[in-house]
């Protein structure tokens, strides 16, 4: 179980006048992720998702607060915790001077895997993502989709109990995205705790058992996608109003249909997670 208590991260930045200022990227955040859960972290650009993940994996030191993994404080047991976590970062961060195999080998060595186990695991994972034939290629020779697949299996090398996926399908073809979704589902079935940050609401809806919505460094809400939709109103009516597309939410389908009947061109549908996201984080661009 991951317990996050009062987590805060401040950065020193320059304000519009060029003076030093403090920016709070994550603000007194409290959250619990249960073992074996597939947990989604949603939020608009700049909400603090990547900063939060950075602190959870030990890349960034929190300004305040605690992170506990199965009761172990990350700050005091950093190396023990790092043994059980894996991270798929948002950006491709392979060693550009090494080949596909060597990058995997480097990861195995950094996690102190014995040589035989390392080799077997690399064979198995490269085979799984169809990269066995490309093992001796320099990393630069791979396409974006292949790099992203390799990024995921590299994080799985040491069989982590907790996996952080930071925007794992950003800028990928739908085919590759679906394949990565399948891989995430297999990992979830195998009992791996997964924390997924994504911009794609449909991705969170398709994969996550529970989601948290962040905005401006704060946690806005948590819950299952179904419960969040229910809280807003399970049915939506939408129509073109004077200020663009308008939405209204209803607990009952009849209520929604009656409302739509008196508005020309209004349609009714089930509420989705994107509606919840927009209602809670606002329509303005961040």
């Amino acid at each position: 179980m991951i317990e996050i208590n009062g987590l805060t991260k401040n950065f020193t930045v320059k304000d519009k006048n060029g003076h030093k200022a403090v920016k709070t990227a994550v603000d007194n955040l409290n959250l619990t992720v249960n073992n074996g859960e597939l947990f989604g972290l949603l939020g608009p650009n700049g909400a603090g998702k990547t900063t939060l993940v950075g602190m959870l994996v030990g890349l960034l030191r929190p300004t305040a607060g605690k992170i506990l993994y199965n009761g172990q404080n990350l700050a005091q047991h950093e190396r023990d915790v790092k043994k059980i976590i894996g991270i798929v970062p948002q950006h491709i961060n392979f060693d550009q001077d090494l080949t596909v195999w060597e990058n995997m080998e480097l990861h195995g060595r950094l996690h102190h895997m014995p040589e035989k186990q390392r080799r077997e695991r690399i064979e198995e994972l490269l085979d799984y993502v169809g990269l066995s034939e490309r093992r001796n290629d320099n990393i630069k020779a791979l396409s974006g989709g292949l790099k992203r697949r390799l990024l995921i299996v590299r994080a799985l090398m040491h069989k982590p109990q907790v996996l952080f996926l930071d925007e794992p399908t950003v800028a990928l073809d739908p085919q590759v995205r679906r394949r990565i979704w399948d891989l995430i589902r297999v990992l979830h079935k195998d009992g791996v705790t997964i924390v997924l940050t994504t911009h794609y609401i449909e991705e969170a809806e398709a994969l996550c058992g529970r989601v948290a919505i962040m905005d401006s460094g704060r946690l806005v809400t948590t819950g299952t996608p179904e419960a969040l939709c229910r809280n807003l109103g399970s049915y939506a009516a939408e129509w073109d109003g004077e200020n663009g597309r308008q939405y209204r939410f209803f607990a009952d389908m009849d209520e929604a249909q009656n409302f739509a009947a008196v508005r020309n061109g209004a349609l009714t549908r089930r509420t989705n997670l994107e509606d919840v996201f927009i209602e809670l984080t606002g329509k303005a661009m961040k």
Binding site: D80, H91, N93, D97, L98, R109
Partner: protein, 245 residues
């Protein structure tokens, strides 16, 4: 910690092995030019302490070359941190920071020593008289360690590759010529000599020259080099751990 040292060293050794021939050939260019220009070209008109100028400058060339090679062996860390972000792979791994730093330094020392071996062979081909002893090699190793550590610190402190080039221009280049490599520091104005004599490269050049000409080892210079190595190692640890801020 030993396995972390081995991993960091293994990674840099792999990269070196991929380009070993290119590395060796490129490392021959500068020393050959120094020996042709200063050794052949100038040595006929210069006599230093009764010996040839070529014998005088070879320890200086070794000092400055091992400094440059070991320093620049670790400057790609700047690219790994800023551009490729591949340094994150080490930061999220359960490794000892001291192990990572030590492995990187040892890999840079290896590069510095390969390059020094090339110069020694070239110097013999040019007819230089050079006595190699274990103390000579030890001084070279300490010099490589100091400047590998300095390269490590610089690479993690600078914000881009342009800043890295500035470090080379403003620090390494002047040191290469002024730290007793091509002429004795007593030829400099007194104040400048005082400053230059505090720098580690000056002590390396003095030590290598003394050992190669069979004079007694100035142990105070060894102590100065050991001090620099310890201080820079502490700085490496501090800066590496500070990356999490």
């Amino acid at each position: 910690m030993l396995s972390d040292i081995a991993t960091a060293f293994w990674r840099d050794w792999l990269v070196l092995r991929h380009r070993l021939m290119k590395f060796i050939l490129s490392r021959m260019v500068a020393p050959v030019l120094y020996m042709v220009a200063f050794g052949w070209g100038l040595s006929r008109s210069i006599n230093v302490s009764g010996g040839s100028y070529l014998d005088f400058i070879v320890p200086g060339i070794l000092a400055l070359n091992s400094m440059n090679i070991s320093f620049n062996s670790l400057t790609p860390l700047c690219t790994e941190k800023v551009y490729h972000k591949s340094l994150e792979e080490y930061l999220v791994a359960p490794i000892s920071p001291a192990g990572f730093i030590t492995g990187k330094i040892l890999a840079a020392v290896l590069r510095g020593l390969i390059s020094s071996a090339i110069i020694i062979v070239l110097a013999w081909c040019f007819g230089a008289q050079l006595t190699l002893t274990p103390a000579f090699v030890l001084v070279l190793v300490i010099n490589c360690v100091i400047f590998a550590e300095a390269g490590f610190c610089a690479a993690l402190l600078v914000r881009n590759f342009e800043d890295m080039a500035r470090v080379n221009t403003y620090l390494l280049l002047p040191m290469s010529f002024l730290c007793g490599t091509f002429f004795k520091t007593d030829r400099l104005p007194q104040l400048a000599a005082c400053v230059i004599e505090l720098l580690p490269l000056t002590h390396t050049a003095v030590l290598l020259r003394a050992i190669s000409s069979g004079e007694s080892v100035p142990w105070q210079s060894v102590a100065v080099l050991a001090f620099y190595a310890a201080v820079f190692y502490a700085a490496c640890l501090y800066i590496f751990k500070g990356l999490k801020q």
